[in-house]
């Protein structure tokens, strides 16, 4: 029998943890915690990124993210957003590990505010230190296959190249390099940053990425919940298309109806 492959079995693993959803969503820029939680639900995401920031000691009873998105049900992936040196990022993640009690983290070390492009020298240095300290860093990086390989050698548990600058929504600018990274990596590859709409997420998955991470594309949509659903479908569609194996491109038409028997 030609039974279809069970789609449920299509999971991916990072640092020994297995997930079904290939969509990771951020928790920034939402109008409210309620909207944020509803968008996470609609996206089907099992992992959310979170930032580490000072508590507001002037008003300690403010509502908290953890009241709306339960860290027992959704994996919190602490990030180092806003860190421009290896030292700042390492310090932030040491605190994150104490706050959350887990070692799976997202490392990003930025080079400049204008583009938020990663500083790869600092990123690599931070990766080496974090791995020595027992962290399992998923690492935001440039879409450079050599840099990706160096991160993997340093112990990154996932490679997360940008599709375009953070928050730009420009879509995947260099499919060739993303594909090269996918082909060269023995750890999961997730496009992180640059996705603007559902087709961008589908492209990432069609290139063979293990997942996609996004925040602004959902949070700044006119209807974030609807966009969260769209992204969920797009990631699934792109993944299925990748598994299915797309047809070859050809330069001219090829009729789909038989030529034989024409009247």
């Amino acid at each position: 029998m030609n039974a279809p492959k069970p789609i449920e079995a299509d999971t991916w693993s990072v640092a020994g943890r297995t997930f079904t959803s290939r969509l990771i969503v951020g928790t920034g820029k939402y109008k409210s915690f309620e909207e944020n939680a509803a968008a996470v639900e609609a996206s089907g995401a099992e992992i959310v990124t979170v930032a580490v920031r000072r508590v507001n000691i002037a008003d300690p009873n403010q509502p908290r993210l953890t009241d709306f998105i339960d860290p027992k049900k959704i994996t919190y992936l602490p990030n180092t957003a806003g860190c421009f040196s290896a030292e700042d990022a390492i310090r932030t993640l040491r605190l994150a590990r104490e706050a959350g009690g887990w070692s799976l983290v997202k490392l990003e070390v930025l080079g400049e505010a204008k583009t938020l492009y990663p500083d790869m020298r600092e990123t690599l240095r931070a990766t080496e230190v974090l791995v020595k300290e027992g962290f399992e860093p998923m690492v935001y990086c440039v879409d450079d296959p050599i840099a990706a390989k160096q991160l993997e050698e340093a112990g990154a548990v996932a490679i997360m190249p940008l599709g375009a600058p953070i928050g730009s929504g420009l879509g995947i600018q260099n499919r060739v390099t993303i594909r090269l990274i996918v082909e060269g990596a023995a750890v999961p590859v997730l496009v992180d940053a640059g996705v603007g709409t559902s087709s961008d997420a589908a492209v990432a998955m069609e290139l063979g990425c293990d997942g996609v991470l996004m925040n602004t594309a959902i949070a700044e949509a006119k209807d974030p919940l609807l966009m969260a659903r769209a992204m969920r479908s797009a990631v699934e569609a792109g993944r299925l298309a990748y598994l299915a194996g797309r047809m070859q491109k050809r330069r001219y038409a090829d009729p789909s109806s038989p030529l034989a028997g024409l009247i």
Binding site: G28, T49, R53, I57, A99
Partner: protein, 72 residues
């Protein structure tokens, strides 16, 4: 004559005075925070949650108290 035994510390960049002899967990609680839901750094060193109740606040300590917030 009474001696002022209060300590001068900084918490998240703000100057504070607290009574002497407080544990770090007690100091955090006095700020209205749950020590189980935050992470504490003292003088650039992360304090394991399990020891917050044992370690005392010292004069001149510089604390950072953080938690998770929304972010991408």
């Amino acid at each position: 004559m009474s001696l002022d035994t209060s300590l001068s510390i900084r918490v998240n960049g703000e100057h504070r005075r607290v009574p002497g002899g407080l544990s770090i967990a007690e100091m955090v609680s006095q700020l209205g925070l749950d020590p189980l839901r935050v992470a504490v750094e003292r003088n650039l060193e992360v304090i394991p949650r399990s020891t917050l109740g044992e370690l005392c606040v010292e004069d001149g300590d510089d604390f950072e108290i953080v938690h998770f917030v929304g972010g991408g």
